[in-house]
Amino acid sequence: MDRIVVTGMGVISAIGNTVAENRVSLIGGKCGMGSLEMFSSKFSDILPVGEIKISTDTLKEKLNAHEPGVTRTTLLALHTMQEALTDSGSTGSEISAFDTALVSANTVGGMCLTDEMYRDSKKDLPGSEYISSYDYGSVNMYLQKRFAMNGPVNTINTACSSSANAIMYGARLIRSGRAARAIVGGTDSLAKFTINGFNALHILSNEVCTPFDEGRKGLNLGEGAAFLVLEKESDAAGKKIYASLGGYSNANDSFHASSLSDEGIGPYKVMKEALAAAKLDPGAIDFINAHGTGTENNDKVESIAMLRLFEKVPAFASTKANIGHTLGAAGAIEAVFCILNLSHQELYPAVNFNEPIPATGLKPVENYTRKTLTHIMSNSFGFGGNCSSLIFSKA
């Protein structure tokens, strides 16, 4: 079987509106966290967030998306899907082909419109223009129509590891012959819903997050989106190939609805299975883009799982220190960052890190480094114990 390769990418996050801008920010160790400005919340100045400083109206204008009911979550997806399609040189007929799949993920859908949704859920008030936009599936319903897509269109959820699974599902549609190419990714916008939800769980930090640091106080939420174009290597002849997707795995920690088991059953299992799927030994991994949320639980458990699996833990870091935790978009955004690592043979500095966790002693990459990189692992773990790991390899 042909390798599955990446032929196009698009990303938007708190540190850049394009792949190129994100790379510049990653090299410079930029931290995109700040005050919430795009909507009002009691927590605007209390809890730092990785917000994209473009208003929803400006996004609509720029993307010529004036249909009623279009949400910020959808607009971020549209912005990056366009970048990925342009980057891959996909033609209109390719995008509309019956064998072009769209698989994406999100965790808030239209629930970014907290107040509108509240009113629409009341019996006697008339419906707003957003009434059909709250579903998670609404993002793809828009993209399918906008790009006149005829192939399989699916929305996936595994909480915070959702878009890693969208990438996997797209790759499997290609492997099984159900699609020739798959446009895969994830999107999420900041919402009162998630800010209050994570805050009620006491896992948000009131300072910038510090993944893998002894003094970490919790995560920062972020927003963003990313899309990749996946194809079979034999179909991509003559195209720019960024990387191949060599291995992947999904497993469940099955310990608790919102925290990971002490020994990291799920994280260990997915890293191990992804290596097996890629037919690689642990020693072949040159870098791990860790899930690294900056919470007490995640970073400790992920470290323990890495120490169990790897004789010598590879270089690792979490880009959530740059952009916050973008939930349903995180797996896809971090996939783009991994591919940037590979295609430029460079590692980015872990920002906000000071002291390692004493029990594990693990230190993320401290400085910008040029390095020979062949295989990179990207971890994503979510509520409900949903763990996933992807392995990207040099083109």
Partner: protein, 347 residues
């Protein structure tokens, strides 16, 4: 291609225990609401905290998992997940002006809550995923199992579909005109020339693998389409049958998701035109009501058909010439844009 070995169904009809689908339970307050069992297999302390979708999903899964090998994965299709808890939490945010909130509704509101809770309660560390593509969420769950079983032929999977009527999503759908304004009986669902259908809900679970021995049904293929044009749908359906119906065989029964909404009749008419005039046609939305993953109810009814040999009279739209049903095509349409095609047969 894969096989269904066990099923479980909590629906508006008597489908969970002492199954009897000849009796037709009617809607109350314009909704076909699920007859919920007492959920003996779920610990009471955990049950109390579960929203309806999670409760029904876990409740339907437990009896299957008590009688089968440990599945290698749990694959759920749902459009709504724990939407009821979502809006409960949202109401707290607004009503208490982002004050001190309890996280339980937030944690339960994630759409992966059904798959995650089944995994947690049965300590299942395998593959675990939730598909959310509205009216095709269950189809993509089935396709997922199909792909996994092609890759790992010895594995077993639990595939399910869950969607509930919550006070909230009911108003979202109702305000968009997807339910009939008039109060009607499901016994006359297909007789009113008007828009909209009746709201329904259910949780269904299917235990599937690649083994023919002892199976209830063989799933030849599942396919999907997003398109508003009925002629594109028809062409896709013809290609689907041609590709997957074994050579020399014919379809004996067409089971459709016709739902009484006159705006969708054109799709069902086209679908019926694809099969020969002597093929039996049956319908199921008067049993299930309309909701995104209702096609799973159609599949469950086919499994009943294969086990019992006949369908209740109230399902039959057109009698066919076949003495027995071997090959069945299920076609479902969601909101005029999402099309589901399932081809199955006796194993």
């Amino acid at each position: 291609m894969f096989y269904i070995h066990q099923t479980s169904c909590i629906s508006p009809q008597q489908t969970f225990k002492d199954i009897d689908i000849n009796i037709l339970h009617e809607p109350t307050d314009r909704k076909l609401q699920a007859i919920e069992p007492s959920y003996e297999a779920i610990p009471p302390g955990i049950l109390r905290r579960m929203g309806k979708a999670v409760r029904m999903g876990v409740g339907a899964a437990m009896p299957v998992l008590q009688n089968t090998p440990v599945p290698d994965g749990i694959i759920i299709g749902t459009a709504n997940g724990g939407k009821e808890d979502c809006v409960k939490f949202l109401n707290q945010i607004i009503d208490y002006e982002e004050g001190l909130l309890t996280p339980i509704n937030f944690v339960q509101s994630t759409p992966n809550a059904v798959a995650a809770q089944i995994g947690l309660l049965t300590k299942n560390h395998g593959y675990n995923i939730t598909h959310l593509q509205l009216g095709l969420a269950f189809e993509f769950a089935m396709i997922d199992a199909d792909m996994l079983l092609a890759e790992y032929p010895l594995n077993n999977y639990l595939v399910g579909a869950v969607d509930d009527i919550s006070t909230y999503n009911y108003y979202f759908e109702d305000k968009q005109g997807w339910y009939k304004k008039e109060s009607i009986s499901n016994k006359t669902l297909y007789d009113n020339n008007s828009t909209g259908s009746i709201a329904g809900e259910a949780a269904l679970m299917f235990f599937v693998n690649g083994t023919r021995a002892g199976a209830i049904a063989k799933i030849h293929a599942v396919d999907t389409l997003h398109h508003e044009d009925e002629s594109v749908m028809k062409e896709k359906l013809q290609g689907f049958i041609k590709r997957y119906l074994p050579g020399g065989e014919k379809i004996d029964l067409l089971l459709t998701g016709e739902n009484g909404d006159n705006r969708l009749l054109k799709y069902y008419d086209r679908c019926e035109s694809v099969v020969e005039a002597d093929v039996a046609i049956a319908r199921f939305k008067h049993i299930s009501g309309e909701y995104p993953t209702a096609s799973a109810m159609g599949l469950w009814l086919c499994c009943e058909l294969f086990q019992k040999g006949s369908l209740p009279g109230h399902m039959i739209k057109r009698k066919g010439s076949a003495a027995a049903y071997k090959n069945v095509l299920i076609y479902n349409n969601y909101k005029g844009i999402q099309h589901s095609f399932i081809l199955l047969s006796l194993p």
